[in-house]
Symmetry: C2
Subunit: 312 residues, 2 copies
């Protein structure tokens, strides 16, 4: 998180916002999650191990920033921010499993199934996924049950078959994990669809959630949805560039792994230069999408830049 | 499902109810689930493969029967019935995985990871779990969003850490899967807790859900909760007895597997005769719990007997 922001348009310190939002999300997650002493202890330890492994809390930050853009308060958006992080963490735990991406390291630490074991990792993931909906269905998440219902439906869609889970399935197929190892070669559109589902859907949901929470009008919701779509794309291109150009120590995970695994990325399809140009124009598009919010969207605008320029 | 009912108190044909409810639940699941042609196709095929593998639809039947007892209509309870079956099926898919119970057969057919592969089975389970909440959050599941919220919260609790997921974790621990293979020897209370969480919680939820759907009063809800608790216990003892006394062909899975795995069961703790006596008295207790519903609870009463006396 040491990435320095260089934008001349910067009107405030995004780093400070991220530090503050990470601190409040971590504190809220700690309050929500059962303690490590809760029985059975091992699964609760494993859930907390993965949840507090130093994630960047990007999705929760988008929830808080989008709520802010719509005039909502951080405190009211915290349960939603925690729920989306539970979903994100479960997806990492399951994706790292030997039967999936078979990763030993995550953020420089042993992955859940390495630290514990496969059965615990599977169940800890299931537990986190289920717990996200537990958080959202509670009365104190929002006084209006219709708003809670809308959040739950949008999260289930973003995390589910038409979103994250479906995207991971497409990713494994592209890597040649099915059909007797035959890699599915994807064109630019195919890669874009895969990424929009696998990582885009949850970032898009995070950006949209603040609008649901604050009961924003249709115009603002459409703007947030467009912004979230753009940020999802930018996030993925930045991620792919980091895999090509970053080094393992800074990333906390093996660099060059995507290329090695024959992963479908836009960087592989477009080349590095075109990918960087695309990234730049996406940041501009994100800023344009935020017009209806005026100055209230300053955090969201900086967040798009941060996502594109991050170094880890 | 060939178990004959012998109760003299039988006032209707439970078998007929079960056949009808299974048919309508299957038709509703088919409507809810994305088709096999939905991309990515493999995960949708895998979800349907496991979902339509001939399950007994016990939990959906309890949802429909409890709604009926509270004066609700079957059609209004169908989304909830489908959601609980999605949760049940996902738990079977994940429990069967090599890292968990490592089962090759389920209902006489290859388990999901045998038919497809481990990655697909993990993701199909995640997809089904997420989809259950997708179904429940929809407007047409219940016109009152507060009722939908209550259903979601209760399902998340029954399926989560304090319920099914936590119970599976306890089960693996009891089998000596952690702590360097040291089996945790459980006393009667320990076994009861494990089973109440692992299988009881979802059956209990199914029995309770009809009360939420029909906005039953506190007295009726308490009665349904008590009934569900009893049915959960009866279900598990019957299951354990079948593992000891049943044969592999009728069960569609390996008999004697629990004993072999050193699984904690009440039959192992109490012995066969005492377990059978306990089962008998549970059926009477279930009937007593249903008093507030009068004749409307006829299906629920027969269901308790069916659960206890089933032969597969």
């Amino acid at each position: 998180m040491a990435a320095k922001l260089k934008s001349s348009k910067r009107t405030f310190d995004l780093q400070e916002f991220l530090e503050r939002s990470t601190a409040s999300v971590n504190a809220a997650l700690d309050r929500f999650l059962p303690t490590e002493k809760t029985k059975p202890a091992t699964i609760h330890k494993a859930m907390r191990y993965s949840l507090f492994a130093g994630g960047k809390r990007m999705r929760p930050a988008l929830v808080l920033a989008s709520a802010q853009a719509c005039g909502g308060r951080d405190a009211d958006a915290l349960p939603m921010a925690c729920a989306v992080e539970c979903i994100h963490t479960y997806s990492l735990v399951h994706d790292d499993l030997p039967a999936m991406d078979n990763d030993d390291l995550r953020r420089g630490q042993p992955t859940a199934h390495k630290k514990y074991d496969e059965a615990t990792a599977i169940l800890a993931g299931d537990g986190l996924l289920t717990f996200a909906f537990d958080i959202l269905a509670r009365d104190d998440t929002h006084p209006d049950p219709a708003v809670r219902g809308e959040l739950i439906l949008a999260l289930a869609r973003g995390a589910g078959l038409g979103g994250m889970v479906g995207g991971q399935m497409l990713d494994l197929a592209a890597e040649g994990r099915f059909d007797n190892g035959k890699r599915q070669s994807l064109d630019e559109q195919g890669v874009a669809t895969l990424q929009a589902m696998k990582t885009g859907a949850l970032l898009r949901f995070g950006s949209f959630a603040g609008g649901i929470l604050a009961r924003a009008d249709a115009g603002k919701r459409a703007a947030l949805d467009r912004y979230g779509d753009i940020v999802g794309k930018a996030f993925q291109i930045a991620d792919d560039l980091l895999d090509v150009e970053g080094d393992t120590a800074t990333l906390g995970k093996a660099a060059g792994k995507d290329a090695e695994a024959g992963k479908a990325t836009l960087v592989a399809v477009l080349g590095i230069d075109k990918a960087k140009a695309r990234l730049k124009s996406l940041v501009d598009e994100a800023e344009a999408a935020l017009k209806p919010f005026g100055a209230k969207a300053a955090v969201l605008a900086e967040a798009a830049r941060f996502v594109a320029e991050r170094k880890a």
